[in-house]
Symmetry: C2
Subunit: 477 residues, 2 copies
């Protein structure tokens, strides 16, 4: 079948990808087969090499192909594990208490684990740490006060200009003055909570939700109303609407792009509906877009903020996953709460460090961030595919797994009566970390779930560790 | 009169200082006179040059001498302005609302003022910014991940070791594991408040108190009970005790060493009494020691934490006044709240920046911090003396002023009906900033007070600016 360009047809790479996917579905290409070489396909279909590469990247993101360095692309086949079912949640809000559980996760034993499926930190080998280090050293050397001076809120203008420039890609053209620089997205989210909610208030969250968000709610004495989520589409808006009718909600925290731990992405239509639903009730939306740039497919999903007409969306982001976690630089575009958030930023810790802001601004100004992101995404997609395939090989039958199209985590449901905390402890005893389900719930639910970070370099050692975790899981089942 | 060493007698430098003070009081040395040269006094009294220098430093701290670079010491005479009277406070606690006023203080107009008596930032010319910059650049260059990695709470071990080593001088030998590194003392104080108080709780504070502390109370929805203070001795313990009987107090925030804006220092006996008073009632003391190292006299005052037997004192400190504000590095030793504060630190912004912690650890390890502090203190003492003398020359009769023995601020009470906010606005219109009294009170009191930062390099321009502020004040009176 030939590929045809045309205004009303899918792009060439999409047509090509669809053909290969059909070959896999039909069994013409089977799991483990080597896919046709890029050159061969290019000649065969009369398309450019880059079109073939784009098609392959797309199929990798879809989980159908797996790239092996120096060796080409191999068919993974349609995932054999069933998908995660939509979550169910209690009707009532509850106080949050996860700190002691999470503290365990950051204990020395955990940090020292030889293989880390626990914390979702991007491997340093995937990050331009040397170049950033040189830029930071230059900033320390060349600036008048060597970075000893404050860069008071809203923060470094050059950096805010660069972030604003990137916001066009997110579907909303924000201005430099729309941003406040923060100590990572974590601080951004905390400032938003301080700005819009008071102790005792109820905040609606995704279920399951990132334990960092639960810790914040706990620190500020906020109650959590868990909203059920679809593993692909994220927060269920009908359930949210019902929750809004039953409860006085001070704010909603959502991770519309590559939520953590589900990896779900809300469609643009759902994002728009979410923003409108909340706007009608004057409820602020705190949007965490930390993983937005880590799409495995070719397209960067929009942010919900793109549909914000009333300034009710507080958009938080960060460079911690894409450039340098230890730099502690993130941002918030807080809409109508901008002035309040800026005052709060000052009152919490005066300012974000001066030199890290300068180094990141210099990095972005120099260009090459998009090229870095492309490489980073390819490596993260490859790593996720490898881990997913490993889970399929090693975990007990009946295990369910998400099929994210971005981000760096997989969410697994173990079959039978397997307990995630037991799995966590037994794996840790063997030097392997993972994140047990109960820390993703304000009341310790998700006992049979685990989150695996796939932000790692795949290796035989990692495969062996995954096999060990799988064996323990089989034993527990 | 000869100087005599002996176990029961004051130290030689104290005897010498007392003799010179007596000469000033008797009129034998008058304001503006050049004091005897160091060499001459040394020969005359048969004491070492360093003993004379110590005596002169002591007299500088007392405000009796003023050092002029390259020129020797000059007599300032006993301050001619009357001292600030003890503050009086309302009996009841109140919510706090200062943010909008403080925002004005950090507006562009304020930042751009040609002469800054407003924010109390140590001049960069007094700080080893170049050396720190080189250490930071080296850390970025030489470390494995160039500082892109987290330095998770409690923070850099080498830095905590250095801070612990210094704590011996504060009167308490704390261990490295007693400390958590924070984004400056401001974050440390916020974490302590989050750890021990909940929205709606009442916190006892000094009156007047640093506006940064008021902003924190406002951000966390805490009520303030103002405790009257003596301009020299700080918080009045009888009043605090009465307050503790009348109110349920969740915590006390105090700045026992060189409080801001009063510059008061509690005696060791008062510190001990304060700690015991609170221990009997199980009330935590949040101690801010930001200015502790900036004593103008020879002795570093102890911290209240030195008298803590029950782990109820949460001691906060920082390098922002002594080394590099923009590095955003401080610490807290939170006693029995240590674990809770460490979890909160993680939940608020994960970690303090990696490279700044390393650079400061390297600076302290290399030695020379004490030498730097001696020079810094001498310059800050000189600057404060100069500003104080300028106020005496230029401000209207009846103006009252503190006589701090350390720190970097003077607190003035204007006579008659002069309004501080008017003075602030008219001075700002002429490019001169200062901090108006009402921002140091939760309900906008201290309308006739202003705080002048003396953390500056004295110059004819500064003197002219002070003359302008004085002229406006005369006009308002």
């Amino acid at each position: 079948m030939s590929l045809e360009p045309g205004p009303s047809r899918p792009l060439l790479y999409q047509q090509l990808a669809a053909q290969i996917a059909a070959a896999i579905d039909s069994g013409a290409l089977r799991a483990g087969d080597r896919a046709p070489s890029v050159r061969k396909l290019s000649v065969q279909h009369g398309v450019s090499v880059s079109t073939v590469l784009q098609a392959y990247a797309h199929l990798e993101a879809e989980g159908l192909l797996r790239a092996r360095p120096q060796s080409g692309h191999y068919v993974r086949g349609r995932p054999s594990l069933p998908e995660i079912r939509p979550s169910r949640t209690p009707r009532e809000a509850s106080p949050v208490s996860v700190s002691s559980l999470v503290a365990g996760l950051y204990s020395d034993a955990h940090q020292d684990a030889a293989v880390q499926f626990g914390a979702a930190y991007t491997p340093f080998s995937f990050l331009p740490t040397r170049r950033l280090g040189r830029l930071l050293a230059a900033a320390a050397r060349d600036s008048e006060h060597a970075g000893a001076e404050y860069d008071l809120p809203p923060g470094n203008p050059a950096l805010r200009r660069q972030v604003a420039r990137r916001s066009v890609e997110w579907g909303c053209a924000l201005a430099p003055e729309d941003f406040i620089v923060t100590c990572g997205a974590t601080e951004a989210l905390n400032l938003c909570l301080l700005a819009v909610a008071r102790r005792g208030d109820t905040v609606a969250i995704e279920s399951p939700t990132f334990f960092g968000i639960l810790q914040m709610l706990e620190a500020h004495g906020l109650r959590a109303l868990e909203i059920p989520c679809d593993a692909r589409e994220g927060m269920r808006l009908d359930a949210l609407e019902a929750g809004l009718k039953r409860h006085r909600i001070a704010a909603v925290i959502a991770v519309p792009n590559f939520s953590n731990p589900l990896g779900s992405v809300m469609s643009d239509a759902s994002k728009e509906k979410l923003v409108e639903l909340l706007a009608r009730r004057d409820v602020p939306l705190i949007e965490d877009d930390t993983f937005g740039d880590l799409h495995h497919g070719p397209t960067r999903p929009k942010v919900a903020k793109a549909f914000d007409r009333r300034g009710l969306v507080l958009l938080c982001g960060s460079f911690s996953k894409t450039l340098a976690p230890g730099y502690r630089v993130g941002w918030v575009a807080a809409g109508k709460f901008q002035e309040r958030v800026q005052l709060l930023k000052f009152s919490q810790n005066i300012a974000t460090t001066t030199l890290q802001q300068r180094a990141l601004a210099a990095f972005l100004e120099a260009g090459g961030y998009d090229r870095h992101l492309r490489t980073l995404r390819r490596r993260l997609a490859g790593a996720m595919n490898a881990v997913a395939a490993g889970v399929e090989r090693h975990f007990p039958p009946g295990t369910r797994m998400t099929q994210p199209t971005g981000g760096t985590v997989l969410w697994l449901e173990l079959p039978g009566r397997a307990n995630a905390l037991t799995l966590y402890e037994r794996a840790l005893a063997e030097g392997i970390s993972l994140a047990p389900g109960p820390i993703f719930s304000p009341r310790g639910r998700y006992e049979r779930f685990v989150r695996l970070s796939t932000a790692l370099e795949w290796s035989d050692e990692v495969d062996a560790a995954l096999a060990r975790v799988g064996a323990i899981a089989r034993d527990l089942v």
